[in-house]
């Protein structure tokens, strides 16, 4: 990937008196997102910064307004933004073993029917792609993954389930993801992993982090 083009403009707006929202003025691309992660890593070292939340091509930072000022942090953010992007992307390669179909993926047949593919082909395409964790939200460790094969895009279920088991792999529209915790949810469930996505006793507490690259690996059924 060509990473040394000049960065797009970074818009910084206050979110109350104790947070700033920094957003890329431009299209949502992986290149922009990598700059967002890099900005977050840089700002984590700035005094007075408390929390950093990458979103989709934006970064929200909270700070202690009794120990630093919004203007100081905005200046620091712009200075970091101007630095050349790293050639090598952040993040680790994480393989997620998945049991597809059956009780672990009760909607796999529906997804196959919707996509006009057979079940093996859905699994093949789902395991073939390399996904990128754009950001984490909704639940601890819930990764918003980019990279789902367009042929697998499937609308959410008309009736959300009241309880989706932890570890379930789902497809909702153009997104695929893993539920770290049992929760109500409307995504089409195609499989399940035995890996723990969230462990409050571990540091870091989640398996996945922004910037990680994810592959799903089919386990024999």
């Amino acid at each position: 990937m060509q990473m040394n083009t000049p960065p797009p403009e970074l818009l910084i707006r206050p979110l109350g008196e104790a947070a700033l929202c920094c957003a890329v003025d431009g299209a949502i691309t992986l290149e922009h997102q990598q700059r967002i992660w890099q900005l977050g890593a840089g700002l984590a070292k700035v005094a007075g910064v408390l929390g950093l939340i990458p979103g989709m091509n934006n970064l929200t930072l909270s700070f202690d307004p009794l120990h630093t000022e919004a203007a100081t942090l905005a200046q620091a953010a712009q200075a970091l933004w101007g630095k050349p992007a790293r050639g090598r992307p952040l993040g680790r390669q994480v393989d997620i073993p998945v049991r597809y179909g059956g009780a672990d993926g009760p909607d796999l047949a529906d997804v196959a029917a919707h996509c006009g593919l057979d079940i093996d082909e859905v699994v093949r395409r789902h395991t073939q792609a390399e996904y990128v964790v754009y950001f984490i939200g909704f639940q601890p460790g819930f990764a918003y993954l980019g990279g789902l094969d367009e042929r697998l895009h499937t609308p959410r279920r008309a009736e959300p389930r009241l309880a989706v088991p932890a570890g379930s792999i789902g497809i909702g529209g153009a997104q695929t993801g893993i539920y770290p915790l049992a929760t109500p949810g409307g995504w089409q469930l195609i499989g399940r992993t035995a890996l723990s996505l969230f462990d409050p006793e571990a540091e870091p507490p989640t398996l996945l982090a922004p910037g990680d690259r994810v592959r799903f690996v089919a386990e024999p059924t």
């Binding site: 707006r13 206050p14 979110l15 109350g16 008196e17 104790a18 947070a19 929202c21 957003a23 949502i28 977050g40 408390l50 929390g51 950093l52 939340i53 990458p54 979103g55 989709m56 091509n57 934006n58 970064l59 929200t60 909270s62 307004p65 009794l66 919004a70 950001f135 984490i136 939200g137 909704f138 639940q139 601890p140 460790g141 819930f142 918003y144 915790l181 969230f198 409050p200 006793e201 540091e203 870091p204 507490p205 989640t206 982090a209 922004p210």
Partner: protein
């Protein structure tokens, strides 16, 4: 140890919440009325952020199996220690074996109990606060139940003997807020309505967020927003046009436009608003918001040194 004889409808262990791992989707959590918890802690000689109990309405009954000092703050709830009235917002010595009965408050919503030394449940990710949604922190990540036992930290310092009380802070149903990033995307009428209306707190409200009912707030400009980080205090407006104020347990990201952000120094007031009551938002500047926070911190520091060794 504290034995929970009657837990009440929603009683949780809370401190001031966690700041780390926000990028991993970890919510802040912590006492909704942080001011009440900090003042209760100072009364019993604790650091302001020690873990205490947050009671939602009540009633609750607790038995202490060690000598300690306690303070109940947040509301005007009647409390009895072995049948003797105990004044809210006052420090009280407790002997091992005594039972505290906390009634539901006549006014307000959430009472807090601080115990000298603090509740010593295991910390998780830098805080003892209960995360009800993700099921960790506090006592097994859940609200207290009848029969639970809560560990207390052993206090090394002598318990303060003197009875000392505080005047409750002035509460009213008005919070100051700054315009949010999408404030100007709303119609002029919607903006005026937001700042002028009495917003009614609906039953679809919890520690994650308060949903209010009032005039419909229509957004005129801007398309769908990319998912972005949110914080307690953010006032977001979903397509229904009815605002939601995010609170301590809110998830870390959202996608709705943000018409305003309640200032940090006034967030505690939301904790004490009753369902069905109305709230007003008053616009203020960022300078006023920081000054209010600084003023509050100065008062707490002053209180801490005034209470030191007393």
């Amino acid at each position: 140890m504290i034995e929970v004889l009657r837990a009440g409808p929603l009683t949780t262990v809370q401190d001031l919440g966690r700041e780390a791992w926000r990028d991993r989707g970890i919510s802040r959590c912590g006492a909704l009325d942080d001011l009440a918890l900090m003042r209760a802690n100072l009364l019993v000689g604790n650091p302001p952020g020690a873990a205490g109990l947050e009671f939602t309405l009540g009633p609750a009954t607790l038995r202490f199996d060690a000598d300690c000092s306690i303070a109940v703050t947040g509301t005007d709830a009647d409390a009895l220690l072995d049948g003797q009235p105990l004044r809210p917002w006052w420090r009280q010595r407790v002997k091992a074996g005594q039972t505290l009965k906390l009634a539901a408050p006549r006014e307000r919503m959430r009472s807090y109990l601080a115990v000298s030394g603090g509740i010593a449940s295991a910390p998780a990710l830098g805080s003892r606060s209960t995360d009800l949604k993700a099921g960790f922190g506090g006592l097994q990540g859940r609200a207290l139940r009848d029969g639970d036992r809560l560990p207390l930290a052993a206090t090394t310092t002598a318990l303060p003997a003197r009875r000392i009380g505080l005047a409750p802070p002035d509460w009213d149903a008005t919070v100051r807020a700054l315009p949010g990033p999408e404030h100007e995307d709303f119609s002029v009428a919607a903006r005026e309505a937001f700042w002028d209306a009495d917003w009614r707190l609906t039953p679809q409200s919890n520690r994650m967020g308060y949903r209010f009912a009032g005039p419909e707030l229509r957004r005129e400009r801007g398309g769908e927003l990319a998912s972005h980080g949110v914080l307690p205090g953010v006032v977001q407006v979903p397509p229904s046009g009815q605002p939601i104020v995010l609170l301590a347990d809110a998830q870390t990201t959202g996608g709705y436009p943000k018409i305003a952000v309640v200032i940090r120094a006034d967030l505690w007031k939301l904790a004490q608003l009753r369902l069905g009551a109305t709230l007003r938002f008053r616009p203020c500047s960022a300078d006023e918001a920081v000054a209010a926070l600084r003023g509050r911190q100065a008062e707490l520091d002053q209180l801490r040194s005034a209470l030191h060794d007393r």
